[in-house]
Structure formats: C-alpha cells, structure tokens
Point group: C2
Chain length 375, copies 2
Amino acid sequence: MKYDIIVSSGKTRLGEIATTRSEIPTPVFVPVGTRGTVKTLSNEELESFGARIILGNTYHLYLRPGHQIIEKLGGLHKFTGWKGSFLTDSGGYQLFSLKALNKIDDKGVDFQSHIDGSQHRFTPIDVIDIQLSMGADIIMPLDVCTPYPVDEKTSKKDMERTIAWFGISNTRFIEKGGPERGQALLPIVQGATYIDQRLYCLEKLLEYDAPGIAIGGLSVGEPKEDRIRVLENILPHFPEEKLRYLMGVGTPEDILEAVEMGIDMFDCVIPTRNARNGTLFTRFGKMIIKAARYAEDQGPVDPECPCPACRGYSRAFIRHLLSVGEILGLRLASLHNVYFYLNLMERIREAIERDEFAQFKARLMADLGKSNDSV
Amino acid sequence: MKYDIIVSSGKTRLGEIATTRSEIPTPVFVPVGTRGTVKTLSNEELESFGARIILGNTYHLYLRPGHQIIEKLGGLHKFTGWKGSFLTDSGGYQLFSLKALNKIDDKGVDFQSHIDGSQHRFTPIDVIDIQLSMGADIIMPLDVCTPYPVDEKTSKKDMERTIAWFGISNTRFIEKGGPERGQALLPIVQGATYIDQRLYCLEKLLEYDAPGIAIGGLSVGEPKEDRIRVLENILPHFPEEKLRYLMGVGTPEDILEAVEMGIDMFDCVIPTRNARNGTLFTRFGKMIIKAARYAEDQGPVDPECPCPACRGYSRAFIRHLLSVGEILGLRLASLHNVYFYLNLMERIREAIERDEFAQFKARLMADLGKSNDSV
C-alpha cells in the first residue's frame, strides 16, 4: 500500500491510496462489510457507486465461515467476488463492543463467540496471521479499544498494551512477508480523551515505519467536544506524508469536521445501519422515512439524487416496503445512504481540489441542519 | 387485454398477451410480488430478466398500505414503479390459506387481518372495486378456493358460489368501465378433483365473454395424479382462443407437464420462497446450497447460467451469506431462481416455436431428475 498527497489546502488533504487491487482517492469513506458483504448491497452496486475499498470484520469472518476456509478458497477477494481493496479490522472493537470479552492479559484476549458461546483466544500474532491468510490489503493490529468513560490509569494501561501489541504485530507482519505482497499494517493510536496519553502513544507508534496511522477509541460514547479536542491536539503531530484513518466515524457532519482537521479515511456502520432503521441521509439532513407524512409522498427521497432508489422509487413506496418488512425496502434505503456517503466524499474531494473546502463545508453544514425530522 | 395464439403444436400453444402496459409472450410465468414487490428483487432486475408481468396480492395490498392510498398515488404501477403489467389476485386464496376466514355466506366473506386481528368483509363487488382502484391489468374475481381433501357436496357448494360470484363480479367490472380501460377479468374454474363439477363450472363461466379462463383450487395439497387427471379432462373443453391460467403452479416439472397439456400462464411462490430457504433450481435439479458439501465449492451455482448470481458469486459465498443470514444471500438466491423460471419459459417458447416441445420436455425432465440434493 502506498499513500500520496496530491493537494493540501490548510489542514485538509486530497490524496490517493494505491493497493495492488485499486487506486483509492482520499478523503475516502470505507463502507462496512462485516461478513464480507456490505449489508443488502451487491458488489456491482458498490462498484457502480465508485467504491474502491470495503471493510471486513476479522472477528466475524474468523467465526463464520472461518479464515481457513477463506484462505483455502483463495482469500477474501476471490471468496466474496469483490474486486476492489479490502481493509480488515482487528476484531478488537468487536471483542469489546459485543461484550464477548472474558479476560485480557498481556499476551492476548480470551473471548466467547456471540454465536454459540464457544471459547476462543486472540493474540496479536493470531490476528495478523488471520488477516494475512485472508489476503486483506490493509490490516489492523489487535488493540485495546478503551471504552468511555474510563479513568486515566485504565486508559494508560490499555494504551501501553496497544503499543506493545503493535510491536509484536509489526514483527509478525514483516516476517510473514506482508510488505512484499503490498499489504499494509496500520498502527492504532489509543489513549481515550487524555491528550498526553494520545501523544505518547503516537510517538511510540511513529517509531515504526507504517504508511498510515489509525485513530481508535473515538466515537465510543464520548461527547463530541472531547472527540474534536483530541483530534485538534494530536493531528498537528501526525507526519504529513502518512495516511490518517479515523476509525468508526461517523455522521456526515462528523466527517466534514474531521476532513477539515486533516483526516483521510473513515469507516462507519451509520449509512447501512441507519438505512435499515429507516433513517435516510439527504442534502437537507435526515429523513425518517417511516413517518406518517411520507405515506402519500410521491416524490423521490431526494429529487436531485441520481441513486437507483431515487431514480426508480417514491418515498411512499420505500416507506411501505420498510413498514411491511420487505427486503427491497432495506435495499433501497441502503443504496441511497451508501450512495449519499460515497457522493459526499466525492464532493469533499472536488471542494478540496478547487480550494473551496471551507465554503463547501459551511454551506453543507447549514443545509444538513434544515431537516425537521428527528429520530 | 388481448390474447392471441401465434403457433400451436399438439395441445401446446405459443401466444401473446397484450395489455396497455406490455406484450407478454406465452407460455408465461408470473413472478409473485405479494406486497407490490417480488421479494428481494428490484424492478430493474426483473426487467433485465425479461419479466413483463408480475402478480400483486389484493388481500395484502388492501391491508397495507391500503388500496385507497395506492389509488390516490396513481395506481399500483405508479406506486411501485413497475412498468410492466400487473395481475392482481382476488384474495380468495389468502383468505383460505392464511386461515383468516371467519364466515362465508352467499354475499361474501368475513375475515380477520393476520396483522392486527381487525375484522373485514370482502364481497365480490368489493374485490372488483379494490382491484380496479389499484389499476391492475388483469383482475381476478373473488372465488371460493376449495381446500383438499373435500367432500363432493362441499365442493359443489363452493363451486356454485364461485359461479354466482363471478356473475356479480363481471357485472361490476363492466359497469365500472374495466373493459374500456383495457383491463381484463378472468373467471376461475373450481370444483376440486370432481371432473363433472369442473366441467359444469367451466360451462357456466363460458357464458361470459372473458379473454381467458383461470383454473383455481389445484396445487392445494391433492396428489399430482389428481391434478393431472383434472387438467386432462377439462382442458379439451376450453375454447382454443382463450388464455389458460393455471393458478399457483408450480415446480419446473409441473410447468413442463401443464404446458404440454395446453396451459399458457402460471404463477407461483416456489422460485422466491425456495430461494429464501436455500433451495436453488438448476438444469440438473434442485441444489440445497446450505449443504456442507458446498462450503468450499468455488464454482457458480450453475456454470452455464448467465444470471448475476452465477456470474459474480460462488456456491461457497452464497452458502456463507445464507448461513449467516445476510440479505445479499437471499437476493442472489432469488435472482437465480427467478432467472431460472423466466429462462425456462423462454426455452419452452423456443421449443414450441421449433415444434420440438416433446423432445425438449423429455430431455429436461431427465436432467431435472439428476440432482442428488433432496430437501
């Protein structure tokens, strides 16, 4: 993996990630395909929207179908038919968020499958081996994803473990030939909302020569101000040339703010999860499509949106489909939201290229606040 | 609606239905779109497979979103975005099969919503009005769908009610201007497995000048031999020029047999329902894709099938998706099965045109029996 900055404007950057699979313009949003599929969407649909990279979850794929099967079938790309790049996460976030965790020690994590209760253990080395065996293009190390709120001492311990595990992970990644195959391993900065811990973690991780750095442990329940404070304080210390990946973020507003601060890459379940709950994104903010006022609304979700849902179907019909539980409703809502996110990133990149990001952001933030719908 | 025979070969017929929406080559299979959508598929996908007509269920659409809303929004076509023809059933079958029925009398049917238990009544006139208000192209009258097994006396009573109700339905249909708008109302022959009742019913229904005749009350649990015996005995009495619609049938084998006997139109939930259960149709019979032996099978479901599921995805991946409950699995299985059915009808039509239907059927029946998978 290679990352190049093409243009920067203020703190905001336009760049390109190149993997052996695809060239990915940044800032980029990576749709989440937990079990090898971005929920409800086909590869063809994602490709038609210009998606060049999706995210698979190591934890889920390890449990089902199992990484050995994926390896035997030629890797994630061949298994899923996805021709673009794959980023796989480490499973760290799932171990904590799914409450699957039993025990954590200096060597790794014991956990229980959320499917059948079976016992498993992940060490940093296991997690690298699993991702390498699946042939992911961008690989994430096992980290300790500190929850919020957390005391300073616990956060420090988690952060130090994250640093130690990255060392082990990186050694394994190199030994197993990841760099030669064009794969990348990105370290993850932890340290909760403690700036000194974040900076310490960053400094230690910069001792390794990775092409990018991820920021983990944000969007885990902390107030937005804390997230922004952390980003504002740590991003000036990130080397210019490295890709900056803000994990698990966020809403369109969150993304606009983070791009302004210099973030290059995002992933988040919001567009797909919200779609399935009937919350659609539009230029004028959220639309709660199941609301009664859309029952007889013949217009498309967004009259200016060229996505297949807006071109072929009305608000009333999508509302009907979601109300009665028809899968086409989940599909159309997901298509629209994923298109919205990918198109948002495209417009962000165009605005950076034209050196008009600040104006673009101000206008869009004002528009996004116009919706009367609230969840 | 107009129906024309283009070629007939033995009892087998090649024809065309013309509605104001589409020209539909026959023999035709009508995919079932209960609530205005063929489960999991988009209109675009159906169109790309050459579908020209789909079926909507009056009972379901009456309950949700309600036919008044559909009428207000410009009818079923505008509401759903489906550009081809719509056939709507009468709800009769659902009233019986969903056990929603409370009371049946000479005037109509009292029933309870399967959704919220609310009380409703359908008369033959209501059912015509509902379908006319939704703008269906082919309309079915309220009938009494006799279950199996049934005694001769009960069947006779149901059959006579079906005849009486058709008279009421037809008068209403004409009064309300159905024929002028190019809509069609097709009478339904009932009479269970009693040939004399079937023939009597047919004779009475032929007193009306409908462009086609439907055969109801088959595929309701009777032995296959009984179904074939009924068809063999009644079809010779059907006027050549009228469309023949065998409701609720069936498997690929059932369709081949019925086409040979002179049936022109079919509808059935089998391709979509079986897909969602993981049963796929192939030239060599059923494939139970969740079987363990497909877990590492890199081939497509059918190497010669050009459907999007077979072009882009492996058996192993589709099995994975269905095993973990991913919607893309339901989509790919449904795409494949609906493609299989529509393509089967196309091959049937080509064989009739070449005057080779008997050979085609014999070859395909032998192939369809080759599968080792059983449900």
